[in-house]
């Protein structure tokens, strides 16, 4: 016996299936918007600007990186920056941008400290940058990278440091930093997506009447609908998986529509607060109905914010046989 076989839980399973499908529907809308706006690229760019702003020296190193040909040429449209920057490309560009900046080059002329002995102009300029620029969180990062590379690089019998090794270690250091940064960025983006999905889920729920409380009541009183929804899930177990094909994705809207018709779910614009005359009349005399509707819609928004994979995973666990 599995959970769905317990009559009292079948309604809950039907609700979860509805939430899973609704979350999937909202995710598709959001994904389309994200693609159009190149939102991931913008998100990454904005955070890069935030993290690499060097207030003490009055310069944002991210601006130099994004204006540099190696990164600039990766974006298909000026307003659609790429979010696919490899750590190595980032590291090499950063070293060049910092070292070749006019801020550093003009500072080298008046630098009173000991000269750096690197043969490579790239390394020499970057080393000067770590010496000339005023201390800030960003410059501390650069200094640590340079120091770490110098400590690790080998020396020949005359005590000359291997510059190629220094370069590789320096690039490696910034590659690691960028990898860690992008990992955090992924988490931050997930949080942002969840928030956006909540707002989107709530707004869409208002327009197509995805009222979780009403649905619960409906399923409770309609075993046929519960059976229909459960049957639909069993027939399409891969909706929530990552391997779903594009053709299947395109079919989602029409499939959901036929499911709603088959089970007579109170979902759709004709059931919304804007069209449902009965609801409009009742809510005038009983404000509690309006509050319940609002609560039901908010719950749907929360359900959408969890994302389809979460609900499908839950369903898989709930419906699998021990």
């Amino acid at each position: 016996m599995t959970l769905p076989d317990i009559p009292i839980l079948s309604t809950a399973i039907a609700i979860v299936i509805s939430w899973a499908l609704y979350a999937l529907f909202c995710s598709y809308i959001l994904e389309a918007w994200v693609q159009i706006k190149a939102d991931r690229g913008r998100f990454m760019k904005n955070y890069m600007y935030q993290q690499l702003m060097d207030n003490v020296n009055g310069i944002n190193w991210a601006d130099g990186i994004y204006s540099h040909g190696t990164i600039d040429l990766l974006s298909r449209d000026p307003k659609k920056p790429s979010n696919d920057i490899s750590p190595k490309l980032f590291a090499e560009t950063l070293i060049e941008v910092v070292g070749s900046s006019h801020l550093v080059q003009s500072g080298i002329v008046s630098f009173k400290g000991p000269p750096t002995a690197y043969q490579s102009p790239l390394l020499r300029s970057f080393k000067y940058a770590t010496l000339i620029l005023n201390t800030s969180d960003v410059i501390s990062l650069f200094r640590q990278g340079m120091n770490s590379a110098e400590v690790k690089a080998s020396k020949d019998i005359n005590g000359n440091i291997n510059e190629a090794e220094i370069h590789n270690y320096l690039v490696g250091y910034f590659e690691n930093w960028f990898t860690e940064f992008t990992q955090r960025l992924t988490l931050w983006y997930k949080k942002k997506t969840r928030e956006t999905l909540f707002y989107l889920g709530t707004i869409v729920a208002i327009f197509i009447n995805v009222d979780s409380l009403q649905l619960f009541d409906f399923y409770n009183n309609s075993p046929t609908a519960v059976a229909g929804v459960t049957r639909f899930y069993k027939a399409n177990p891969n909706w929530g998986s990552d391997t779903v094909s594009n053709t299947q994705l395109n079919l989602l809207a029409s499939t959901l529509d036929s499911l709603v018709k088959e089970t007579k779910l109170p979902v759709g614009f004709q059931h919304s607060v804007f069209k449902d005359k009965t609801f409009q009349q009742h809510v005038k005399s009983n404000w509690w109905l309006g509050a319940l509707k609002f609560l039901g819609i908010l719950i749907s928004g929360f359900a959408a914010s969890f994302g389809a994979p979460f609900w499908f995973d839950l369903l898989k666990k709930a419906t699998s046989k021990p």
Binding site: N55, N57, N60, G64, S67, P78, H102
Partner: protein, 425 residues
């Protein structure tokens, strides 16, 4: 013959203060507009609305939305360059220090703006002439400011294996952002500029352009010591002269939308720009072997140019001298003919002013001091750069002056004389 546009801007929105839009709109609207204009459709819609209903400042911001949201300064410069039929035209791009104008810092930082334009200069060494924007608040002391400026000018940039060029050719100041040109911290830099023939271009348009929106700072900075005279600014107009007083008027409509302070700050900041505030500097450098070349840009603004030409009274002005700004600039040119220049940037977009320019170009002193500039990209909503340039060029070429014409004088000879220095020989 080499021609020039002596006045343009190529900074983008990331170089401008984060709350730049709040200078023009109520806070709630500014936030909304900023979000919506991140898309092309939203940006286009607001450009249209601001151009129609936003007045002069609205048009400036609309232009900012149109061009300033470009990817970087390189893209804006390419846009500008492509509008000219003369591939050899040299364009002066003015950088601006806007970090302390009461609208928050920029996203790139000021040095970031400079790095961006230096990169554009590397790619366009023969078309782009960069003016370095300076502000007394940029560095802690006058010496530090002068040392920084000198270092930035002296360090050549490599444009190819065999060629390097000076990145900057002039200085730019924007006093309405909250300081007077006679500020103590600017003095050493101006002395260095005079010594090397480096030109200085100052914004000088009545109620035109941006301003400082930090009311307390603005109101507290109106009557500092004029370092060249050694006394309070108001006293340079005669002992007992009333000091500049901030605008304290109330506009109910603007007050409701939280914009009353903005309007008042715009008015009050006029004191910083007034041509009369440059007298002491000009007097100081007139005594030197090498005078400071300074361009009081915009010729006072189109309204003042027209009113001066028609002999109309300007009405009550926010300034120490109740006198038309165009007339004030002319007076300074007559008095300091080796120092003072002016340009017709932005003002030229109003075609009615052309006759006034042509009339002034018949004057033997003024005809050597007026320069052509457009103020791209802040003019784009009024008149596109190409039309602005072509219209004025065509009209000016038909205005003979001896063996030459107004166009050659304004766009070539006068500008060349203004720009010539150690860094632009």
């Amino acid at each position: 013959m080499q021609f020039y546009n002596v006045h343009s801007h190529i900074f983008n929105i990331r170089n401008a203060p984060k709350n730049f839009l709040n200078l023009f709109l109520p806070d709630f609207a500014a936030s909304l507009v900023d979000r919506i204009t991140n898309t092309d459709a939203g940006s286009n819609m607001f450009q249209m609305l601001l151009s129609r209903f936003g007045g002069n400042l609205g048009k400036r911001y609309a232009s900012f939305l149109q061009v300033g949201k470009s990817r970087n300064q390189r893209e804006i410069f390419e846009n500008l360059k492509n509008q000219y039929d003369d591939p050899h035209l040299e364009i002066v791009a003015l950088t601006m220090y806007m970090e302390k104008c009461g609208a928050g810092p920029s996203e790139t930082g000021y040095e970031g703006q400079l790095e961006g334009i230096v990169e554009v200069k590397k790619e366009n060494p023969d078309n782009l002439l960069v003016f370095l924007g300076i502000d007394p608040r940029w560095k802690n002391t006058g010496k530090e400011l002068k040392d920084t400026v000198e270092r930035y000018f002296e360090t050549k940039i490599q444009v190819s294996a065999e060629r390097s060029v000076y990145p900057f050719v002039g200085l730019k100041i924007y006093p309405s952002l909250g300081f007077y040109a006679f500020d103590e911290k600017l003095k050493e830099t101006f002395e260095w500029a005079a010594e090397n023939g480096v030109p200085v271009l100052s914004h000088c348009s009545y109620l035109g352009g941006i301003y400082n929106n930090d009311t307390d700072f603005v109101n507290g900075s109106l009557n500092p010591i004029d370092v060249y005279e050694g006394k309070k600014y108001a006293d340079t107009f005669g002992d007992g002269t009333q000091p500049p007083s901030p605008d304290k008027s109330t506009n109910v409509f603007k007050w409701i939308f939280g914009q009353n302070d903005n309007k008042r700050n715009l008015n009050t900041c006029s004191y910083f720009l007034e041509p009369a505030s440059y007298r002491s500097i000009l007097e100081h450098f007139a005594d030197k072997e090498k005078p400071l070349k300074i361009c009081l840009a915009h010729y006072g603004g189109d309204n003042h140019v027209l009113e001066e030409s028609e002999g109309k009274s300007p009405g009550k002005l926010y300034g120490m001298i109740q006198k038309n700004w165009c007339a004030q600039i002319k007076e300074l040119i007559y008095k300091y003919p080796d120092s003072v220049y002016t340009d017709i940037a932005y003002t030229v977009g109003n075609r009615a002013t052309h006759c006034a320019f042509f009339k002034d170009m018949k004057d033997p002193v003024l005809q050597n001091r007026l320069m052509f500039g457009t103020d791209f990209f802040l003019t784009e909503q009024i008149i596109p750069e190409k039309a602005d340039y072509n219209t004025f060029k065509t009209a000016a070429m038909n205005q003979p002056i001896g063996n030459t014409n107004v166009w050659e004088m304004m766009a070539s000879k006068n500008t060349r004389s203004f720009l010539t220095s150690k860094y632009y020989p």
